[in-house]
Amino acid sequence: MTMLALQNVSKSFGALTVTDDASFEVPKGQALGIIGPNGAGKSTLFNLITGNLRADKGSIHFEGRDVTHVSAMERCLTGIGRSFQIPQPFEKLTVYENLLVAATHGRNLSESDVRDDCADILERTELIKRANVAAGQLSLLERKRLELSRAMATQPKLLLLDEIAGGLTEGECQALIQTIKEIHAQGVTIIWIEHVLHALTSVVERLLVLDFGQVIGIGDPDEIMSSRAVQEIYLGIDV
């Protein structure tokens, strides 16, 4: 079953085309990695999927339903969750409250229904000891974990991760990969934009390469990484 399908999606800001006729599908339960040089339009692609930006052309289907013209909030309620490249927690709320907000509003439930879930998520993402600390006080790794936890609290069927491993030390990165693997193992479909390639390839089953807003390759990670086009464009190697 297809979880997400983009058909000929385009987006321009003035004369600048940031997403150019992008088409791809993500089957349910798959983890797809997205790579591409800076400015290739990776985050824009996420914004189009979450509904923060509207596509100029083309269509986006989520679980078979056309969501091209559906608001970001509605898409969140139907199961598209995301983490941001730069963590954006509610700084004055505690870690636990951050999750409660996401869980109650993102799923339209009352607080008593989501308390246990939120505690579970914090347990899994190893933030439980920091539950009552204001989010503004967290370290970078903890903030990234909170981004992940908060996205999880909306119980997404599709989880979008935007450069979540960036800026972490090697050890921190490994710990985060472990958590993401566990989330994936539970059947959550993941699309992950990442510059830290080894982190990405240790989790995803498929890799998509974006350049100048165009999908220039999609397939098995090893094949994609060794393809000439990727080496030329993404790694900047003149082959």
Binding site: L93, E97, V101, A102, H105, R107
Partner: protein, 287 residues
């Protein structure tokens, strides 16, 4: 002994100013909106209570209970359909729109109720007093102060103990991210302004019972409210109460020295606090 009495009367008067200011503080804290029509909305609330009292023959204390949901609706609609459209990165549009609203409200009230000053009907309760040792305290000032404390306790409970309060704080922190979590900032803002106008109605009751009002006194109430909020530190509700008390005490002490100094002394106290603590007494850390 006269000085102790003066100071206590000032503290109680501060309760009224804190009531004026709490709604302003609430709205500013959640959506960074400075509502220049706040004072006129208080006066409008007082007229609404007066109309209910006159038409239905109710006691003001009963009329206020009917006026509160009506004012909530006014606030909700005002925010949803007018003020939400002015919010954005630029702080000027909300100032201009609420300034215009202030003028429109004053003139509408003038048209509807004339420039005659009005007063809510008083009864035995409103003129009663209690003796505490050598000091005599009016029941009305005590009720006003008690109401201010209750309003602030209730708002704090709402903010830190409820789901709605969490949504308020999350939206205040980052409205864009909040909307991604399924919160509708527009509705959250509308609810906040609705609650602010419920507090405005309570303030209007005490304004109308304690003194005369006419359509033109709104802007002066706005200034007292503003000063109380800024002395306390933007966004801190207990700070707002303290700010109200400081202005109240300054006014009664000023008046005791020379009756002409009452209003002046309040403003001077405000300026003095700003000189020493430019961000108010309890500023929020991140603003």
């Amino acid at each position: 002994m006269i000085w102790i009495d003066t100071v206590i009367q000032g503290v109680l008067l501060g309760g009224l100013y804190a009531l004026f200011a709490s709604g302003l503080s609430l709205v500013f804290g959640i959506m960074r909106l400075v509502n220049l029509a706040h004072g006129d909305l208080i006066v409008m609330g007082a007229y609404l209570i007066l109309v209910l009292v006159t038409l239905l023959g109710l006691s003001p204390f009963v009329a206020v209970l009917i006026a509160m949901p009506m004012m909530f609706a006014v606030g909700w609609l005002l925010q949803k359909f007018l003020l939400n459209r002015t919010l954005g990165d630029d702080i000027l549009p909300p100032l201009l729109v609420t300034f215009g609203l202030s003028i429109a409200l004053q003139n509408a009230l003038l048209e509807g109720f004339s420039a005659d000053s009005q007063r809510l009907p008083t009864n035995a309760l409103t003129t009663a007093s209690v003796d505490v040792g050598p000091i005599t305290l009016g029941v009305m000032p005590l009720l006003t102060f008690g109401s201010a404390v209750l309003v602030i306790v209730a708002l704090n409970q709402l903010f830190y103990r409820t789901e709605l309060g969490r949504a308020f704080r999350a939206t205040s922190d980052d409205a864009t991210t909040a909307s991604l979590m399924g919160i509708k900032p527009g509705n959250i803002f509308a609810t906040a302004t609705g609650i602010a106008l419920v507090i405005v109605t309570i303030a209007a009751l005490y304004l109308g019972l304690r003194a005369n009002f006419d359509p033109n006194i709104g802007p002066a109430r706005l200034i007292y409210a503003f000063e109380a909020v800024i002395i306390g530190g933007l966004g801190s509700l207990w700070g707002t109460l303290l700010g109200g008390i400081i202005i109240g005490v300054a006014q009664t002490v000023g008046a005791a020295i020379n009756p002409e100094w009452q209003i002046l002394a309040g403003h001077v106290a405000f300026l003095a606090v700003l000189l020493i603590r430019p961000r108010g007494l309890f500023p929020r850390v991140n603003d």
